[in-house]
Symmetry: C2
DNA sequence: CGGTATCCCAGGCGATACTG
DNA sequence: CAGTATCGCCTGGGATACCG
């Protein structure tokens, strides 16, 4: 029995794994965590690197990750203001797993896209 | 530079990791994949185990996972009909990572909830 | 620069009903 | 049993404007 299976056999609201997944199982959060490996990064730098994310959603996701203790937010009183985001020690313990997910995606994307084509051909509209 | 970072520096629509994450970074999908470790499982069995998922969303998510080649769907012509879901070989290559995520969540939930309380106290409404 | 505030709309989801 | 169909809400996210 896996850790998750222990968890979701418990009452819904009391399942900690579910509560944690609710907060992390989102593509922008994973992309941002991965982006923060290495040096601290500023808001607009992340925005540029992770193409397609809106300012609003980036801010929301950063706030969520900060609230969950995974990233830190440091303000430098320059003019205009500078803000740097970095992984916390807790966040750093998660990046191995996140990277593993990313590598799996890279490695298996061909199989996935092939499966999609096969599925779409055999399942008519 | 990690696998993901190589990826999102590419043009948005051409980033395969992003396309894969779009399909997998969702809590129900992860919970279902984890649930399918071990023996094949039937629709209503999953529905009972993963409390809180609606019939509609379970069906949608199963369809998505099947389309992406991660799970198989086998129909037995009993009366009434029986349908079993199981991991494919491709899906099986993903479960180690999914389990790692689940274990991380179990192990660090206390730190996460503590971080949330601390954040909420220092960030007034 | 690094955000909030406001408006607005598509679509995601739950609830309910129906079916092979 | 294992779904699909339909409806109606409601919120998540884009667009835009503004601010310390």
């Amino acid at each position: 029995m896996t850790a998750m299976q222990q968890a979701y056999n418990v009452y819904e609201d009391r399942c900690p794994t579910r509560l944690v997944l609710d907060r992390l199982a989102d593509k922008w959060a994973l992309l941002i965590l991965d982006r923060l490996e290495g040096e601290p990064v500023r808001f607009n730098h992340i925005r540029r690197d992770i193409k397609g994310i809106s300012q609003k959603v980036l801010a929301q996701t950063l706030r969520k990750l900060e609230r969950n203790g995974l990233i830190s937010r440091t303000i430098f009183p320059t003019v205009p203001v500078t803000v740097e985001y970095a992984l916390t020690p807790l966040g750093r313990t998660l990046t191995d797993t996140v990277s593993a997910l990313a590598h799996w995606a890279e490695k298996n994307m061909d199989a996935i896209f092939a499966a999609q084509r096969a599925y779409d051909e055999t399942h008519p509209v």
